[in-house]
Symmetry: C2
Subunit: 198 residues, 2 copies
DNA sequence: GTCTATAAGGCGATAGAC
DNA sequence: GTCTATCGCCTTATAGAC
């Protein structure tokens, strides 16, 4: 447990506040109270609220995308899928959702620069999932109902919404439906022949 | 084009404002300006902002759930799926998303009564999709990668997120990945045998 | 039912002392 | 770097005239 500078604490609590309540859902006062400083001190580190947002979304995206890029593509497809799902499963059911998912609901208030980071976040995750699904399909180990890219978009969207719904219902296991879909889509399994009973 | 009472206009513009900006994203002033009245007139019809929200979410849920319940279950599964998807396809790419999806991101600020309506909305849609998928599977016309209920949850979540992403990218066709997944999941089609090229 | 006027407090942001 | 003090504006909500 290393000691954090005030700036680091502000950024960390902003990440949490945005994921819990959204950019429009917290104030400088809320943030100041959590960190134990006055609101004017926040303005010293982050002159405007948009500066704070920009820093938070950049940091969040770097962390998650870093995790995704860090997954060894030499692993079996199922192991890659499980590694990918890790942070999603760990988040589900808490009082925070994905920062990008939250901000995507608030696009009307966000500057263009933030929009770009959000879009890049979707693109990277969807591209990674597309590659995984396509390679699993190419190896003939699996049978996809729709093209890899379409399934990747659907799976990633279902994960985002899964966090939202898991929080609403207070039910972490709500994310598992989508996790199962991804795993099943890259797993050879005993894939049933058409007409074979489930 | 029938003339609407002020109350009806307030409700209608509230539906739109929540779907565009969220419950925390608009004020009585915004609403008053759109309808052409003063903010105090809103308080006459809806004493508090929570009253306004309660009326809006109730109305929205009644409309969408009414549409779903109105789909003839005697139709072929694919026709039912297309009828179900209709409002989602019509919404994608505009500046408004599903009101329930929007409010689900703002749960921290919403009263318990609204939470209940949101949950019921998810349950009804998921149950309807589960029935559709299960009946299509039971008829041996299709092969699902995961159980019907899990797929229903994933599909519905992907639709919700699909609206969000379609708006962010300004790309209505973004919803089609999930629409394709649902259609493919209930369509006998020429379902490929394992190993058969896509 | 709708208005004017106003209350009481929250908001992001700034100036200037220390 | 952090503080106190303050600005101007926005917010939901109410009282009372018409």
């Amino acid at each position: 447990m290393t000691t954090q500078s005030v700036r680091e604490q502000l950024l960390e609590h902003t990440l949490l506040l945005v994921r819990q309540r959204g950019f429009n859902g917290f104030s400088y006062r809320d943030l100041a109270e959590r960190v134990g400083v006055k609101t004017s001190s926040i303005h010293y580190h982050f002159p405007s609220k948009e500066d704070l947002l920009q820093a938070a979304v950049t940091e969040y995206s770097a962390r998650i995308c870093g995790h995704v890029r860090g997954i060894d593509t030499g692993l079996p497809a199922e192991a890659q899928a499980r590694a990918y799902l890790e942070p999603w499963l760990a988040t589900a059911g808490g009082d925070a959702i994905c920062l990008v998912g939250m901000l995507s609901a608030e696009t009307a208030f966000l500057p263009e620069g933030v929009h770009r980071i959000l879009k890049d976040f979707y693109r990277l995750n969807e591209a990674w999932l597309t590659r995984l699904l396509a390679s699993a399909q190419a190896a003939r180990r699996t049978l996809l109902p729709i093209p890899p890219q379409a399934l990747a978009q659907a799976v990633f969207g279902a994960l985002q919404s899964g966090l939202v719904v898991a929080r609403l219902f207070g039910a972490p296991e709500r994310i598992e439906a989508t996790a199962t879909l991804l795993i099943a889509s890259v797993t050879p399994s005993r894939s049933r022949a058409p007409g074979e009973p489930a």
